[in-house]
Amino acid sequence: MFRKGFFYILMGLVAVAMFLSAAQVMGQEDEDYPQEPIIFTKPVKAVIFDHKYHIEQGLDCDSCHDDPFEMAAGTAEQNDDFNMKSLYQGKYCGTCHDGESAFASNTRCTLCHIGVKGYDKMMGTSEKGHGEH
């Protein structure tokens, strides 16, 4: 009895392992990047970055990771130089958004800067009420 039970458990584990590895391979091909947009809230609220849109432009993970951006979301925001001035100097988003590879960082501000209003919409929180008249 003991041996038979052990065999079934072993087979079960093998099946689970195969399923997991298959899922991982499929994931790498298709969706191995955050599906939801990244929302930056520092130094200003708020800036949107959509992985999907940038993948569709023909970029892959290596294009931006780990340089100019670390994989872990929120890392760039910790830096004091994560601001427009750095972008104009070719750092962070400015690596591509220089007017040649992609639109320059000092143009089309609100394509990325969605503002407090954009942030509230994304988070599903409504604007604080004020005196309507």
């Binding site: 609100t110 800067h113 969605i114 503002g115 407090v116 005196g131 008249h133």
Partner: protein, 247 residues
């Protein structure tokens, strides 16, 4: 009744149109539901001529405080709003300044938001001052700032109805109307050069200064050749002193 002004929002009087054409100015568009009149001066002289014609030059105010808003640089970070709330103790249910939003589409079909900071326009011809039954709101004879005298306000809200810019709210704590006064009591009278909102703006959207000074940044900004400058709701005849342009 025949003389009554049209309430049509896209109304530009023939008189106004003729005056502009005479000066060689292009009316570049009546935008945002007709509440914005945009003018494109061809030279500094012409820009000056329009402002003169409209009564913005040689006013009695010195300094003549005004604000130029470089609209397309506004990203709605609302640091201006935060600074205003903190500086002027604005309660949650009201505002002295806020940011409006509309959606625009670029040539490639991408939609993007356009953010428009709004505040009291400190009009040359303020409708709120005209309607106040107790003279609780006046236009300061020195600076042109439209100020509140809280102790005289009876809270009738007539000024709120008269304001074309929704720039006033009833403050429950003060039991009076509250509004933007270009931070006169909280900053300017204490020697600060900028309003809290202008000082807090990280993108230099809100440029505050003296329209009577030809060397001021505000004067220079609105006297650039081939640069459209507009004001909100010119049809009311209030002669607002908040000027809008793109950078």
């Amino acid at each position: 009744m025949k003389e009554q002004r049209s309430t049509k929002p896209d109304y530009v009087t023939d008189e106004e149109r003729r005056a502009f054409l005479k000066l060689g100015l292009k009316i570049t568009g009546v935008m945002a539901g007709g509440t914005v009149l945009s003018l494109m001066p061809l030279s500094e002289q012409e820009a000056g001529a329009v402002l003169k014609l409209e009564g913005y030059e040689n006013t009695k105010y010195k300094p003549h405080y005004c604000m130029v808003i470089r609209q397309n640089d506004c990203v709605d970070c609302e640091k201006c709003k935060e600074a205003c709330i903190k500086t002027n103790h604005v309660p949650e249910y009201g505002f002295r300044t806020t940011i409006l939003e509309k959606t625009a589409t670029d040539d490639d079909g991408n939609t993007f938001p356009v953010f428009m900071p709004v505040l009291c326009n400190h009009c040359l011809n303020p409708p709120c001052v005209r309607v106040c039954p107790t003279k609780a709101t006046t236009k300061d004879p020195k600076t042109g700032i439209v100020v509140m005298h809280v102790e005289k306000c009876i809270g009738c809200k007539t000024c709120m109805a008269a304001c074309p810019y929704n720039a006033r709210y009833y403050n429950e704590e003060k039991k009076a109307i509250d509004k933007c006064n270009f931070c006169w009591d909280t900053r300017l009278s204490k020697g600060e050069k900028l309003t809290a909102c202008a000082a807090a703006c990280p993108a230099h959207v809100r440029v505050f200064g003296d329209l009577s000074d030809r060397n001021s940044e505000v004067w220079k900004l609105i006297h650039q050749p081939n640069k459209a400058v507009w004001v909100l709701r010119p049809e009311t005849g209030a002669k607002p002193c908040i000027f809008y342009m793109n950078d």
